[in-house]
């Protein structure tokens, strides 16, 4: 599935998105940390269909997934 990356995370990844075949957010986390150097020490949230989720969630593959560093609006 396509995973959207923003701000510092996109900078670390060198791209604003990645194709990651993840079955859950925990699985997604592991794969992101494998593929993005330095991600583990960073603070970030996962949004599914534009809402931030906490804890592990199953993913069907049809969701809109985004990885969000700390917000800085205003």
């Amino acid at each position: 599935m396509k995973v959207l990356l923003f701000g510092l995370i996109a900078e670390k990844a060198g791209s604003d998105h990645m194709e990651i075949p993840a079955t859950s957010t925990a699985d997604l986390d592991r794969q992101l940390q494998d593929r993005i150097r330095g991600l583990k020490g960073l603070s970030y949230s996962i949004a599914i269909d534009r809402t931030i989720v906490h804890g592990d969630r199953a993913l069907s593959g049809s969701e809109e997934i985004a990885v969000l560093p700390p917000f800085a609006g205003g």
């Binding site: 949004a47 534009r50 985004a66 700390p70 205003g74």
Partner: protein, 151 residues
């Protein structure tokens, strides 16, 4: 029912800095609203903070637009519920590179009396900062950068 109360998804983002004349034009548009007694306006300006001896010269703003606009629609709807006397609420946020000294954020509420406009602006400003996925890359005077994060 006023435009603002329809709660449709409005685009709050503008490319580049918010011009002060945009604020005065927004104010002037309310001169025909005879039920308004109070306007409260918050403006965010890019501050040239010193970071390890280097000044911030600009912030480059990006956003997860679709999520930001959904959260903003929710915030707007809740604001009109909490402050029913509020007649209008206008929110704008810059994207792209905004130099120190320029404006990047405006929240503008109008109401019959000052209390509702004042409380609504305070709550909307705080809600936008907390909930909208907007990211800011602070460009330093030596061309290095750091990523801003709201406290």
């Amino acid at each position: 029912m006023s435009e603002a109360k329809k709660h449709k998804v409005k685009d709050i983002f503008v490319e580049g800095a918010i011009d002060p004349t945009f604020v005065s034009e927004s104010i002037a548009k309310h001169a025909t609203r005879m039920d308004i007694g109070a306007h409260e306006i918050f403006l965010g300006q890019v501050r040239a903070d010193a970071i390890e001896g280097r000044a911030v010269v600009a912030i480059e703003y990006t956003a997860y637009r679709e999520m930001a606009l959904e959260r903003m629609t929710d915030i707007r709807e809740e604001a009109f519920t909490r402050w029913p006397e509020m007649t209008c609420l206008h929110v704008h946020h810059s994207l792209g590179s905004i130099a120190a000294g320029q404006l990047c954020f405006m929240v503008f509420a109008s109401a019959a009396h000052r209390k509702q406009a004042r409380e609504a602006v305070a709550w909307v400003v705080d809600s936008v900062k907390e909930q909208l996925p907007i990211f800011g890359k602070e460009i330093l005077s030596d061309n290095d950068h750091v990523w801003k994060r709201n406290a």
